[in-house]
Amino acid sequence: MSTVFIGVCSHGPGITGRAGRADPRVRDEFYRSFERMRAALEAARPDALVVVAAEHFANFFMNNMPAFAMGMAQYYDGPIEDEKWLAIQRRRVPGNANLSRRLIGAILSDVDLAYAEEWKFDHGVMVPLHFLTPRYDLPVIPVNINCQGPPLSPLTRAWALGEALRRACDAVPERIAIVATGGISHWPATPDSGKINEAWDREFLRRWSLNERDALVSYTDEETYRDAGQGGFEIRTFVAAAAAGNGAKGEIWFYEPIPIFAVGCTIGVIPVEAVVAG
């Protein structure tokens, strides 16, 4: 067993870029939950962090859109966005191409995914890293699930990817942390930005915490679009994290709608069975 940590978090660019415009009380409580997650992540002593994200046309476009992709580079640059807009400084983030290659090789037995030896991080990865690896000293391996341009992989395939990722991580000697990041209901970058369906979010998170596959994968894209907006398609990342949890129940450490961040801000973890040292 060398999966040592599994978590989920939000990544909206407003979380850093529009920080000054949020209610400071709620915002700071959210930031404290991110801090708690950082401490838990560090306590797990990972050698690498796999970030399961849903990028927003940073690398992949509709000319050649992979359903699933994984980074296989020695470093990644980000953010791709304007630094001032995101309030995160551009930098080089370490990767681990050798580890990527082994993980990808293992996952390919179960799920077809593309690899990428060059990959630029957008806010979808940089916002989580800003809070979780503020020194940028932990090698990161990005995984992408297309949640932007339909047709999209069904939720059952996101689940299969999560299971395959877990199997692959457990088969390498390195200690691997997995953080999946996406929005729940949200309508980002549209006139409805700031709208959040809290009841839908809480029901989704209830299912996520119970980690029951059938309940989690039962949402159709039509329902998700209607109730949770196009941003709701990003639940695929949460579904993958749940699958990686091997049936363990999740804990929600924070959930609160923060409209100026355009999402119900979420921090959750799935406890991973303790690994005996040595």
């Binding site: 529009r18 927003h56 046309f57 476009f61 509709m62 000319n63 791709i80 966005e81 304007d82 807009w85 932007q148 341009g149 339909p150 980002p188 970058a189 549209t190 006139p191 409805d192 930005s193 679009y225 196009q230």
Partner: protein, 111 residues
């Protein structure tokens, strides 16, 4: 310029491709400032789409169906602040009607 009677979904693809490349490529951004007509000639766009780009009409591009994850960066490139960007899209819908193609054409809650 190619005939303008090909289907809208294909045209939306090239419109988004243009904006995607503009958002990320300093060379394309330079041509956007210095040689807009030449740059537009490289993409298979309708006359209406070219006019919207010339007019810096973010709201109309939204109505055409450009994905917000592409459009918001273009708006920032034009110097629109976040609320101005949201307002531009709302104004686009008021002026030009509901979103015509792409993901948001499914949206019923147009404001």
């Amino acid at each position: 310029m190619p005939g303008s009677d090909y289907n809208r979904a294909m045209s939306l693809y090239y419109l988004q491709k243009f904006l995607y490349q503009l958002n990320r490529d300093a060379g394309v951004q330079r041509r956007f400032r210095e040689d807009l007509e030449g740059l537009l000639g490289d993409y298979d766009l309708t006359d209406e789409e070219r006019a919207a780009i010339r007019a810096r009409d973010v709201g109309l591009l939204y109505v055409f169906g450009v994905n917000g994850q592409i459009l918001m960066h273009y708006a920032a490139l034009l110097g629109l602040e976040w609320n101005e960007y949201l307002e531009a899209m709302r104004q686009g819908v008021r002026r030009h009607g509901p979103v015509r193609a792409g993901l948001y054409a499914m949206t019923t809650d147009q404001r």
